[in-house]
């Protein structure tokens, strides 16, 4: 059975903390609506590339153009929604 958006969100919290080495953030307190880039968490273009790889490795979604990431990676919530709607069917 396919994962729900909430389940993906929970997974992403852990994954982002691990992949991006966000040492001081606890999964429980990682707000799914906080903007990841710019003012919010302050991630940058290299982190964006890390997330492109995460999408591929963990969810089988390949982004050809890194610019597509701008909207997808806005927040954990938007990421989860995109994954839910675009991941290849098992």
């Amino acid at each position: 059975m396919q994962q729900t958006i909430e389940e993906i969100t929970k997974e992403l919290r852990q994954e982002l903390i691990k992949q991006l080495n966000l040492e001081d953030i606890l999964p429980e307190s990682f707000d799914e609506n906080t903007p990841l880039f710019g003012e919010g968490l302050g991630l940058d273009s290299i982190d964006s590339l890390e997330l492109v790889v995460l999408l591929d490795r963990n969810y089988g979604i390949k982004l050809k153009d890194p610019k597509e990431g701008r909207h997808i990676f806005y927040s954990i919530r938007t990421m989860a929604e995109y994954i839910h709607n675009n991941r290849p069917k098992a």
Partner: protein, 359 residues
């Protein structure tokens, strides 16, 4: 430019296998290592690097950034006019991580962070970025000459514009990969020894070390300045004792220094009986009567270990004190410590002479 190049030292920051930060002690608490690998004693990095930058940095980048930060604070300089770094092997941990992922994943789905952090100039770039230093920026990777090349570069910049202020630093890490390679090349001792017994062991091979040292240098002295690096020279693959000692004598003459005027000579012997041969011959000839100290039992051997030696010499001049643990002969009975002479070797190929003078 008339060929006279020198640099005033205004501040130092160093992270090494001995406690060299946040203390007024000068090599009184000594760390010992028994496995032929000496690793750095590190502070809480959060006190030196902002958290946004910190999270992405591998261990050696953290160490290098911290040494650079301590140096700038020591020299009371916010933004220097340029940054020059030096390393022998670069960021091996990151190189190994990227390479391992590449091989295991067969070149698919690779992330960029380790690749970026493995570039040799990553530290010079990072320091420039963190303090917004838009001036001169360069990195040397010439094995046992890297740090000396960096100093030479800095000295020439300062000869051209003596009002300039530069940050010159070195880093090398005691990585597993490098240990394995050097064991293959028989560069490290096969038996485990205690680092303090390095020079008692009469076998081939040395011990692995690591560290990062940054120096703030300028063309004119300031309130923070206490000594000057008057000159340096590189000698590549001297074949005989004569070749090295003639180069040394010539260097002393050019700088109008007689051997008697040298208060302490710092011997960059590595504990490898074969590679130390020419330094041993200098010890028994030109420097027969000169008080001698050594340092590689404290920091281990690595391409840029000479930076620890320069820190040692500069600190001796600042504190007018020679720690017991570095003494390898009797010292002059009294008097001011004024001139320190350093002779280093790496793999019996990269030799260098440096002379430090108290202001």
């Amino acid at each position: 430019m008339d060929g006279k190049t020198q640099c005033y030292i205004n501040g130092i920051g160093i992270i090494a296998p001995q406690k060299t930060f946040e203390n007024d002690q000068f090599l009184t608490e000594i760390s010992t290592f028994n496995q032929n690998v000496l690793t750095c004693i590190t502070p809480d990095f959060k006190a030196y690097i902002n958290p946004v930058q910190l999270r992405r940095l591998g261990r050696m980048l953290r160490i290098g950034m911290t040494a650079a930060t301590i140096c700038l604070r020591d020299a009371k300089v916010q933004v220097p006019d340029g940054i020059i770094t030096a390393t022998g092997y670069g960021f091996l941990e990151e190189t190994e991580k990227f390479l391992t992922e590449l091989l295991e994943r067969q070149e698919t789905q690779l992330t960029p962070t380790y690749f970026m952090q493995s570039t040799y100039n990553a530290l010079a770039g990072l320091v420039a970025l963190s303090i917004k230093c838009t001036g001169y920026n360069n990195t040397y990777v010439s094995k046992g000459f890297a740090f000396e090349n960096a100093l030479q570069d800095a000295m020439m910049q300062l000869a051209e514009k003596n009002s300039s202020n530069l940050l010159v630093g070195a880093y090398d890490e005691a990585a597993n990969v490098q240990y394995a390679i050097n064991m293959r090349e028989h560069h490290y001792k096969s038996d485990h020894i205690k680092n303090s017994s390095l020079f008692e062991s009469k076998t081939g091979g040395t011990i692995q070390g690591e560290g990062s040292a940054f120096f703030n240098v300028s063309g004119i002295s300031s309130d923070s300045t206490w000594c000057v690096l008057k000159d340096l020279q590189l000698v590549y693959t001297p074949e005989t004792e004569d070749e090295l000692s003639s180069a040394l004598t010539s260097f002393l003459n050019t700088n109008a220094i007689s051997v008697d005027e040298i208060d302490v000579w710092i011997n960059g012997a590595s504990g490898d009986v074969k590679n130390d041969r020419l330094l041993t011959s200098l010890e028994n000839s030109i420097f027969k009567k000169t008080p001698q100290v050594r340092f590689k039992h404290l920091c281990g051997e690595f391409c840029t270990a000479i930076s620890f030696g320069v820190w040692l010499g500069a600190s001796i001049l600042k504190k007018q004190f020679i720690p017991e643990i570095v003494k390898f002969s009797s010292m002059k009975s009294s008097g001011k410590l004024d001139i320190i002479f350093i002779v280093n070797q790496y793999l019996d190929r990269n030799y260098s002479f440096l002379v430090l003078k108290k202001l």
